[in-house]
């Protein structure tokens, strides 16, 4: 195993919602005992439906929210209890790219200010000076350094996402969490941004946690892929294995639901799962997927299958596969 950059062990996050005025307090089980590790230079995909806890895992790993249970390790060091200035120093090592390029840049700040903020926050003076460093960053993500005095609204969605990526790269972190980095962009721009991320990863050896619900994009960039359902990882495997021979019924269903440009099958309806995603407030007993699983048995409703190793480092949580 390569050395691990960022790791979550037994990560659990419960949110409390509601109050006396809205039907009592309830507990949303956003993430339930998830183990995930990102190796040096590795790109791990995290896929699943909306609300399955993908983004929550990203934010837990970055210590932007506190876990209910579980530990987080950065470069072998336990950072779960880091606070205040100690935590702020650790943030140099891990960064984030957001989904919405319109919300992730302060509309009142010029691009030059946005990109020099990381250095000013940490009191770092790059060897070549902040201004030159900002120009270099803009060049690296394919932006014209002359545009540094523009405001974010003067850029297109793809260009804004490039600014967001440049900001994440500024402090030369070891790992970047990309939280749906392309799902708000046009398809043609998506490809450019994915290629940019891949080039930057290959140049710098940076590790990525790539959160997405778009399987085609994940297949394009990731080395390993984790599939989430209702707060838990149900399958994690090397990319090729997962896409060629999925084991978990949910993974199979996901892959079958991807539209493929195939003229011969144009009019055939895509595979669809029956039913709705159960509420994370009141998850089903046993395997959370048994309510929608086409092959579920009595055992599945009674007992939750553990996420167990099948071959190499590939793991599946299913009684039947």
């Amino acid at each position: 195993m390569k050395d691990i950059v960022l790791e979550g062990v037994g990560l659990t996050k419960h949110f409390t919602v509601g109050g006396p005025m809205s039907g009592g307090r309830r507990r949303v089980r956003a993430v339930e005992s998830v183990d995930i590790a990102i190796g040096r230079g590795e790109t791990v995909g995290l896929v699943g439906e909306s609300g399955c806890g993908k983004s929550t895992i990203g934010r837990l790993l970055l210590r932007l929210i506190d876990p209910t249970e579980g530990r987080i390790r950065l470069l072998g060091q336990d950072i779960t209890d880091a606070r205040g200035s100690g935590l702020r120093r650790l943030r140099r090592r891990m960064q984030i790219v957001f989904q919405d390029p319109f919300a992730s840049l302060n509309p009142r700040h010029r691009v030059g200010d946005i990109l020099s903020a990381p250095y000013r926050i940490h009191g770092i003076e790059p060897r070549i000076g902040i201004d030159a460093k900002v120009a270099e960053l803009m060049g690296r993500v394919g932006l014209d350094p002359m545009a540094r005095s523009k405001f974010p609204h003067e850029f297109s969605g793809g260009q804004r996402q490039r600014i967001g990526i440049a900001r994440a790269l500024a402090l030369e972190p070891d790992v970047i969490v990309c939280d749906e980095p392309v799902s708000a962009l046009d398809v043609s721009v998506q490809a450019q941004i994915v290629n940019l991320l891949r080039d930057l990863r290959d140049q710098t050896g940076i590790a990525l946690l790539f959160i997405s619900h778009d399987l085609a994009v994940v297949e394009n960039i990731c080395d390993r892929v984790a599939v989430m359902y209702l707060g838990r990882i149900v399958e994690i495997a090397d990319r090729d294995r997962l896409f060629d021979a999925p084991r978990h019924p949910y993974t199979k269903a996901l892959l079958k639901s991807v539209p493929r440009p195939d003229p011969g099958r144009r009019r055939r309806a895509l595979f669809r799962l029956e039913g709705e995603v159960p509420s994370p407030v009141d998850p089903p007993t046993g395997c959370a997927f048994h309510t929608r699983c086409p092959v579920a048995t009595k055992l599945c409703a009674a007992e939750r299958p553990p996420l167990s190793i099948r071959e190499a480092s590939n793991k599946v949580a299913c009684h039947l596969n």
């Binding site: 960064q95 957001f98 926050i121 003067e154 900001r167």
Partner: protein
Amino acid sequence: MKPLAVNLSLSIGGTIVIAVLLFALFGTIVSGFEPDQMNMKNRFSLPTAEHWLGTDNFGRDLWTRMAVGARVSLTIALCSVAIAVVVGTTVGLVSGYIGGAFDLLVMRIVDIFLGFPPIVLALAIVAALGPGMLNLTLSLAAIFWTEYARVVRSVTLAQREADYVTAAAALGAGSARILFREILPNVIGPVIVLATLGIGTAIIAESGLSFLGFGVEPPTPTWGWTLSYGTRYLRAEPWLSTVAGLAIMITVLGFNLFGDGLRDHLDPRGVARRIKSAPRQ
């Protein structure tokens, strides 16, 4: 900053505001009269070459008295709004950002202030502290700050969840930087607009209190007091109250237009829209 000329509200409002400021500063010098110089032979004069705005019930030059009143009104309005903005914005930012029980407590204190009818609260404070410009200013600030606190708090509540705030936190920015560098520039727009509208409201409130006799004490010729004693002669000589009323109205209008235009000018997105929508030359 090119589109200044395109912004009509800002130009007209700014012109009026500057004119009122110049009037307050130099009005008494150019008129050639003292504000309390009486001339009983020339009462209730309409505007003439000598008395540009006419004279009042004692034959005193109205232009001079309005200029003195402008100085009083503007000083009180600007100072009370400035105090209210600083206090209200800080309270709103901190309360909205910290949230939870602290926010709840602060907002209940704001509710207590809002529970009183504003003029009654101002009257009570002036009655307790005694009349005078400083106390009038403080009492107006006490009724105005809640508005800024509430607006800034609500915008802060929305902004603190925005991705750019999370991004700053992820970069390692501290609370002070997040509050004042990231969030403050995004809440200041509504505050500026409210403040310029607030200056108008403050002028009216100050005039109202003076009208009721709780403002700056006569013989200081405030606009409110002039409006008030003008009503005694309203049927026979409507001009006196009309001048005072117009002075208040034009000034308030000027500040409102100015605030409106300023908001558009300060919002970089608004400017972009204006450039695009402006007719081609």
